[in-house]
């Protein structure tokens, strides 16, 4: 009931943001012993935002972590439930890397290669046909002579979206498939979705679990290629070998500078109405956005978060202070 007063911050949402939120929450509890350590739930951006948009009050959560920007329809739903003032905080970027077993040779990937290996339909001899390639070397002789096996994020993951947008869409264009598709279907939306359709014959495997599962799959199938978050790769660099994309090796630097093409921003959303009422909430957000945490030398960056550029971080802090709402 409403009578029980709450004195602990409650956070829910994306499992990609979770490790960062955990580090912050833990440090927050240690450096500000006045407040209890916040509770950070995992359950996906969708679940987090759903709880977030349940309403305002001590029996609803304060913060939703998200690995994608909140959607308009979700803002609508929030508003309908009385959550009218939402503050958005961007915490940095998540690099997305392609890696294979550490025992393999170095790998240099192009969006085009990935597209041809993984798309549902490719252009062969100027015609659009169901993907006939079985081996990486069929796609590009420079690639290993091994059966295609790619462990890509399942459709429930935000990472998949980035993968489609930054790799498949580009590869589609580069390989000339886009033109072939344009010639076939008139509807633009359908063109776009055909361009990012992944083959379903079992060579491209959706992973709906976390990166540990991808790692286990690569362990079981050494010639497979998996998609990982940069932080995960860095923690398992001894077992994995990362591939360059368009010749750029992923690192915090190359991603921050935008050289490495595949990354996405991470966010959390705060209920403004809770700021003055839930003990420690404001302090938590300030603590999170401080350079001690999300700065390039902070523990988050050490874990693998790609810090936003200095100016952007300053902007983020200012925007929060100013109480800007969405």
């Amino acid at each position: 009931g409403a009578a029980a007063a709450r004195d602990q911050i409650q956070i829910a949402g994306s499992s990609t943001v979770l490790p960062y939120a955990k580090i912050v929450a833990e440090s927050f509890g240690e450096t500000l012993p006045d407040f209890k350590t916040p509770v950070v739930e995992s359950g996906g951006s969708s679940g987090g935002l759903k709880e977030f948009c349940k309403g305002v009050g001590p029996d609803t959560i304060d913060i939703a972590n998200s690995s994608r920007p909140i959607k308009d329809s979700e803002i609508e739903a929030c508003k309908a439930a009385g959550v009218t003032e939402i503050q958005e905080v961007k915490i940095g970027y998540d690099g997305i890397v392609f890696a294979t077993d550490a025992g393999n040779a170095d790998l240099a990937l192009e969006p085009k290669d990935l597209y041809q290996a993984l798309a549902a339909e490719v252009v062969v001899d100027g015609k659009l046909v169901a993907n006939p390639y079985r081996k990486w070397s069929d796609v590009n002789p420079a690639l290993p002579d091994a059966e295609i096996a790619a462990y890509i994020p399942g459709e429930k993951h935000g990472t998949r979206e980035v993968f489609e947008e930054k790799i498949l869409a580009h590869g589609c264009k580069d390989s000339g498939a886009q033109d072939a598709i344009k010639a076939l279907v008139a509807d633009e939306k359908e063109q776009a979705s055909k361009c990012i359709a992944v083959r379903k014959d079992g060579l491209a495997v959706d992973i709906d679990g976390d990166y540990t599962e991808t790692l286990a799959r690569i362990d079981a199938n050494k010639s497979g290629i998996g998609v990982f978050g940069l932080s995960f790769y860095e923690n398992n660099a001894d077992k994995l070998k990362v591939a360059t994309v368009s010749g750029v090796a992923p690192s915090t630097e190359t991603i921050a500078s935008g050289e490495y093409p595949v990354s996405r921003p991470l966010f959390f959303y705060v209920k403004k109405a809770h700021l003055g009422v839930i003990p420690g909430l404001k302090d938590y957000v300030e603590f999170f956005t401080s350079d001690d945490m999300i700065g390039p030398d902070g523990p988050l960056a050490e874990y693998g978060l790609v810090a936003a550029p200095d100016a952007e971080r300053e902007e983020i802090r200012k925007s929060f202070e100013a109480g800007n709402i969405m």
Binding site: A4, S42, D238
Partner: protein
Amino acid sequence: MSQVTTSPATAAFKASVRPERRDIGLRRRYASERRFRLYGLAAIAFGLLFLFLLLSSVVSKGYTAFLQTKITIPVEFSEQVIDKDGERATDPKVLMTANYPVVARNALAKVLGVDPGDRAAMREVGGMISDSVRVQLRDLVVADPSVIGRTVDVAILAHGNVDSAYKGQIDLGVDEKNRKVSDRQVGWMNQLAETGALAGHFNTGLFTNGASSRPEAAGLGVALVGSLYMMLIVLVLSLPIGVAASIYLEEFAPKNRFTDLIEVNINNLAAVPSIVYGLLGLAVFVNFAGFPRSAALVGGLVLTLMTLPTIIIATRAALKAVPPSIRAAALGLGASNMQTVFHHVLPLAMPGILTGTIIGLAHALGETAPLLLIGMVAFVADVPATPLDPATALPVQIYMWANEAERAFVERTSGAIIVLLIFLILMNVGAILLRRRFERRW
């Protein structure tokens, strides 16, 4: 049938010459008997083999989690670092917020003979020590502020990477920049190990600490307490409710469409995927009844609902198996239905009920999915004092650790599984002892 007259002389081979021995297919039937028996043994062997494979794979991966590398060094609680301006008398906050990691880092640097001015080296020295040293030293100082200015031997948690390296879980043959410990750190580690400063200790933190993002400091404390609360709630609620419901349905309910409906309904509830119970718990206990999120109470209630059908089905089967003549005997003596059930039928059904309860509880103990939706798959650092505080559960902790990126969490995941299995085995043993008591066949 055997009209053959046999003299003593032919007695020796009489059995073989008896003419009318019917052929009742003995060879075939015995072969089938042996086969049947063998199938049974093979089935049990099959189950036990996989149990063994599973357990050995878990144990071989996880036993190291029970050891934790610590570095025992003399730490100087320098007033310079902790309370430069001597404000602690007036402002107790100073002691809380002092820079303890530096204290620890300096102490280690001194032991290793590293120049405190060498910033790069000092960073690596700092990387040898767990970040949780802040809390460790702070608690020491706050408990006894008189240590300030003195030098005390403290066993400091080694960093997770050092821990993994020390346990040989990091392949040191890999290129230095592809692993989490540098060659220099490995050198220091060996140096400290030789002097005995760095050594594996029994990992009590694994059982007492709450969740942490640092593997070396992460423990099952919250999960253990949470699971304990939940199991108590499940046991206290589901056993009596389940047994009561079964008694009603089996012994009292009129046999009609409505009770058929209940029966089908209960069987169906056993089939409902567990995550659906999470949806139910979220809607009913959190949103409607207003219980707090992430609380063991809600988890216990959800698991109770999930376990009930299992217990009810098993209990009904056990009640059904009690011979009707026992009921008739009691009723004939003038015992009421209620007395008959509670005095005779229930005790006889007890072994079956307990079996069902063990299975149900074990199921509940290992369940993660429903807890996801009520906020128990979460990072919770503080050990819950009551079932209303945020908590996690053992399988949740396993699930979360399994998804951690750091190598040091791999052994902890298996270690946590071992703990969970021990939890489970203890429960089983308890129930078996109980069952023995009841199973006493008269």
